[in-house]
């Protein structure tokens, strides 16, 4: 992709939970095919940023432009149809739906998504459990399912909220491989991640958040030079 316009452009994004002002003017850009990670301590507004972009938080101001379209004006159920998918931190696997039903739940929004068979080849664990209730899966399998079901929809971009949280190292590694596979297929990813080592392996660029704002942005190559800042802000 040679176009200079970012796929996702967020400018001056403010968001509120009730009276509580959670985002104070977030600015960030994600270009097509990039994997970008939001870093920051607990409570600085990383999850809130994703939820405000997708529209789960309605009390928001500023600009969210995706693929040239303004997402701020759209009702929640129209947003996904622009080609953007959300994988929540709590994974959102439905207990009253089988694995299969969970997998085909999100509607196809564009051509170019994977078929169910292709997805199941990528996730052999899910193949064996197609008819069990979604929440009978292990935490890692549920995370796989939460990402897998977005691949069918044909979205161009995924918002992933802490995909490695609470998972064993071997599963974290598998999710890393999965993200690499998706990247090869041209998927654009905006990732929120506490696991700094994991993030540094999968991301092209980083944004650092503090107090509801993006305070720094840099490519993975500059990571070494930025360690002092990261120590200061993240305590890693």
């Amino acid at each position: 992709m040679t176009s200079a316009a970012p796929l996702l452009a967020v400018r001056g994004l403010n968001a509120w939970y009730g009276e509580s002002h959670a985002l104070h003017g977030v600015d960030l850009e994600v270009f097509g095919g990039e994997t970008v990670t939001l870093l920051g301590r607990n409570g600085v507004g990383k999850t809130t940023t994703l939820r405000a972009i997708i529209g789960l938080i309605r009390k928001r101001t500023g600009q969210v432009v995706f693929d040239g379209k303004d997402l701020m004006q759209l009702p929640l159920h129209r947003t996904a149809h622009q080609g953007i998918g959300f994988v929540p931190e709590e994974r959102g696997i439905f207990a009253t739906l089988t694995v299969d039903e969970n997998l085909i739940l999100p509607p196809v929004v564009a051509e170019g998504g994977m078929s169910v068979d292709e997805i199941l080849d990528l996730f052999p664990n899910l193949k064996e459990r197609r008819n069990s209730p979604g929440t009978r899966l292990s935490g890692g399998e549920q995370q796989m399912l939460a990402i897998a079901r977005m691949l069918r929809t044909g979205v161009k971009m995924l918002l992933l909220d802490e995909p490695t949280e609470g998972l064993a190292p071997v599963i974290v590694q598998r999710i890393g491989e999965l993200l690499a596979t998706l990247k090869k297929r041209g998927m654009t990813i905006l990732l929120v991640e506490q696991n700094f080592r994991f993030a540094s392996r999968v991301a092209d660029r980083f944004y650092l958040m503090e107090h509801g704002k993006v305070v720094a942005g840099f490519p993975t190559g500059e990571l070494a030079d930025r360690m002092t800042l990261l120590h200061e802000v993240l305590g890693v």
């Binding site: 529209g55 789960l56 159920h77 009253t96 739940l105 929004v109």
Partner: protein, 295 residues
């Protein structure tokens, strides 16, 4: 004459049949309530009035337009369903962000208004609705005489219950409905038009009540109060089955109908009470209901 526990078999089977017919209506009505409550979190107090409306639509179609039972069997639920959709769009949908109590109060008020209007024009005495010729008469089963129409009601209600269950548990639309029952915001973020789903669900629940109403018209008389007499028992059924459980509502509906019938044989004085006694016991032992998931 054959006796079981000192009761003639004919009497026992007769009451069990009455129980099964009552149970058919309990099942259809509590099913609609459970579907509506599951997704909308609204306790639909207008359900009894919508059942009455279904019966009245059939009655009015017949007396004013000469449209008979079979077309009314389609038209009544359709008209009541559209009425439900209008109510949801105009009023209920504005209450979702408020305390669930508002939905309950609104539907309760709606029930009172509907009943009041029909009582004003049609009085409290019932209006007869003749059994369609195809189903008049009865069949001698050897051990008892079964009026054909009552047999039809039992079969029809089982088809309706099974159809609704299959729609919710086995179809793609049903999987949207189940998922939205668990987490409506996320399902909407996936791109499903959840507000439309809520509207259609309330329409479906209302239509089920309307269908029960037209099915009931030839058995009970068509009266403005027919719904409020029934709805209290139906709420007890939903509580016993577990709020929001589809299968629970169906099974409990038939079970409690049969329990009522049996009580009529062995201790008639308690037959109006037995459902509520069972409800009290279930609430003590399993507050989430027999089929409910513990919250």
């Amino acid at each position: 004459m054959t006796m079981i526990f000192g009761i003639p078999v004919q009497a026992l089977l007769g009451q069990l049949l009455v129980g099964l017919i009552n149970g058919s209506f309990y099942a259809m009505l509590s099913l609609g309530l459970a579907v509506i409550f599951g997704l909308l979190r609204v306790i639909n107090f207008a359900h009894g009035a919508q059942y009455m409306l279904g019966a009245f639509v059939g009655y009015l179609l017949l007396t004013h337009l000469g449209i008979g039972y079979w077309p009314a069997l389609i038209l009544s639920p359709l008209i009541v369903g559209v009425f439900g959709i209008v109510v949801e769009r105009l009023a209920l949908s504005r209450l979702y962000d408020l305390d669930p109590l508002y939905g309950l109060l609104f539907t309760f008020g709606l029930a009172l208004v509907l009943e009041g209007v029909f009582r004003y024009y049609y009085g409290v005495s019932g209006n007869p609705y003749t059994v369609p010729p195809l189903l008049s008469g009865g069949t001698n089963l050897g051990f008892m005489f079964l009026p054909n129409y009552r047999g039809w009601v039992v079969v029809a209600s089982m088809i309706v219950c099974f159809g609704t269950w299959a729609l919710i548990e086995k179809t793609r639309l049903g999987s949207y409905l189940r998922a939205a029952t668990e987490n409506p915001r996320l399902v909407q973020a996936f791109g499903v038009n959840v507000p439309l789903l809520l509207t259609l669900t309330y329409g479906l629940g209302s239509a089920l009540a309307g269908l029960a109403g037209i099915l009931a018209a030839p058995i009970y008389q068509v009266s403005p109060l027919m719904g409020s007499d029934l709805i209290i028992v139906v709420f007890a059924v939903v509580v016993v089955g577990g709020m929001g459980s589809i299968l629970g509502a169906i099974v409990t509906g038939y079970m409690l109908g049969l329990a009522e019938g049996l009580t009529k044989v062995f201790y008639p004085e308690a037959s109006n009470l037995v459902v509520f006694v069972i409800m009290a016991i279930v609430l003590l032992v399993r507050p989430a209901g027999l089929f409910g998931r513990d919250a």
